[in-house]
Symmetry: C2
Subunit: 354 residues, 2 copies
């Protein structure tokens, strides 16, 4: 048995993997592999439409919000967002709450003014900056809703009239959230939404066209909307796996149900960590992520022993990001609570022995 | 039986599909699906290295040419190339030989001067422009080696000291070619190299850094080289399918063998078309593509009847691009000659009946 606590690409639902595997030999009874079909066929266009519809329903989007499946990961959104939304003489507000958000800030500076209105960098990103003023004239406010590396999560989205832009790569559809509030949100699929190679982008079309910079066709959200997310050949298989995952999320009951399950899973793990002095969670209690649980063991020998014990039990993906060290356990939507229990049992046993 | 003449995404070797399918349930004995593994694991890093090595060997690249697996398709390369290589006060030379090349020209104009040194647009792109002068001061010359839509192929790469850049999306590794001559070449994988979602880019690193524009990290070839094609999460599965396809190409004997096979296949089809007055190939004989064979049937009723006959026999992907009409038969590397013979037999029979 393998217990997959990878931070992303991460665990996927078994039925998604099984459906994807079937489609590799015969997609929808066409006699062709999903890898060999034309993307402009009715069968694949139906997949894209279904995905857009499911995302719309699962996030309860408004009529002006468009759903796109793009390429290039969140890292491409880091520059595509300011390229489209930030005029060279305007200013965007950014919150600097983790290394991915810091990368977004760096990419934005190429296009216009950037005001970092809050930062927890000096504290090693162990908490989410909270008391900041949002400049009313900002073109947008950029947030990261969950910091995958550091293990913090933004539990309350700030109230503001400034258009909100958010990187939701590691917590999209893992919890209840008012997705209607965002002018633009994006998420690399490889954590909660499918496989690597596709990025979900939700964009309020009324926010587009406010600045005049000419952008390349592939970087122009309006062109992607106009072409129904098929401006060029989309990453067909990655889109298909995302649609399968959206179907699975929908069948489970959506964000409401996932919110409860993910709360249970993370409560179980944090509760165990808090009860055992051997382990030390590294981030501020009120900002704890429900997706990525980061902790340390002070004694390096015990750290090594714990790593080996986990490995022996078939656990993978538990090493913390190299910038943080220690351990990181990712509890994405597809991870059953039983797998968390195997880990917490192991933790109790390990603590008793040491 | 399905005969897949799709223009791309197109037919893939059966053994590639079977290996991909196995990796969906268990990648390399890890007990995890290829969709669930970390991209920074030794097992996946080995896949990327193997792919780079195979591409290097199959194309007989020089030591200064780097192999990258990127996202965004050839359409992204249309702007990424000039963004990196064309200073705002410099000029690049382009040959306008088809609708994809024309899109590349349009994207280049955003970044600097563009001189279209040859165009067959006025003739409906039915031939490849040939007698043109290449301005010595051009930052590069951009070519499309095969025009997927129109069915023409550039059989002779021009001699010049100007750095050569080429879109090889639809004929890469389908024929013998001196790949060392290119400063940069790119190919969307979904025709001869695998599945949609990854683009092979080969780049001579000595050509980089000649202009000073600051570009976003994701668009900077130097950053991708520095990070071994893992600047961010790569499209893991699409890369894997490409590496499986490169393995298959290597096992077959490489470009030399494919060149001979593709010549046989296209000779068989063109020979049939030329022998039957009912069918009319649409492009100049000396520029005929070996990958995409485009032809018409003058009588619209017969065109319809032929379409239905092909459909009845299980043939897919034979309709010409909407901008050209008629028929297009794509004979990518993975298509067995037997499938061409089934089609040519049908053509003889159809011609005899009408």
């Amino acid at each position: 048995m393998v217990y997959n606590f990878n931070a992303g690409p991460g665990i996927l639902p078994l039925e998604v993997l099984e459906s994807a595997q079937r489609a590799l030999s015969d997609f929808n009874g066409t006699g062709l592999s999903i890898l060999e079909i034309g993307h402009r066929t009715a069968a694949f266009e139906a997949v894209v439409c279904e995905g857009q519809q499911l995302a719309r329903e699962l996030m309860n989007l408004s009529d002006t919000q468009e759903v796109l499946f793009l390429q290039g990961g969140a890292t491409t959104q880091f520059f595509q967002v300011p390229m489209n939304f930030l005029a060279s003489d305007a200013v965007a507000a950014y919150v600097d709450a983790g290394i991915w958000g810091a990368k977004a800030i760096q990419e934005a500076r190429l296009w216009g003014g950037v005001e970092v209105i809050g930062s927890s960098k000096a504290d090693g990103y162990t908490h989410i900056p909270k008391s900041y003023a949002i400049p009313a004239k900002a073109s947008y406010l950029h947030l990261t809703t969950n910091n995958t590396v550091e293990g913090t999560e933004l539990h309350d989205i700030p109230e503001t009239d400034v258009p909100l832009v958010a990187d939701m790569s590691s917590d999209i559809l893992s919890r209840r959230m008012d997705y209607r509030r965002f002018a633009l949100l994006y998420a690399g699929a490889q954590k909660n939404l499918g496989a690597a190679g596709v990025t979900l982008v939700v964009i309020d079309r009324t926010q587009l066209g406010r600045q005049a910079r000419q952008v390349p066709g592939m970087m122009d959200y309006r062109k992607h909307i106009e072409h129904g997310s098929m401006l060029n050949t989309p990453p067909v298989f990655a889109v298909y796996v995302s649609v399968l995952t959206l179907r699975w999320l929908h069948a489970k009951g959506g964000a409401e149900v996932l919110d409860a399950e993910n709360r249970q899973k993370s409560d179980l793990l944090y509760g165990t960590l808090d009860s055992l002095p051997l382990f030390r969670p590294t981030v501020a209690r009120e900002d704890r992520s429900r997706m990525n649980i980061v902790f340390r063991i002070e004694d390096p020998r015990l750290e090594q022993a714990f790593m080996e014990r986990c490995k022996d039990e078939g656990m993978v993906g538990i090493r913390g990001h190299r910038s943080v060290g220690g351990f990181r356990i990712s509890l994405y939507n597809a991870l059953p609570i039983g797998h968390v229990r195997v880990l917490t049992d192991l933790m109790h046993d390990f603590a008793a022995r040491h």
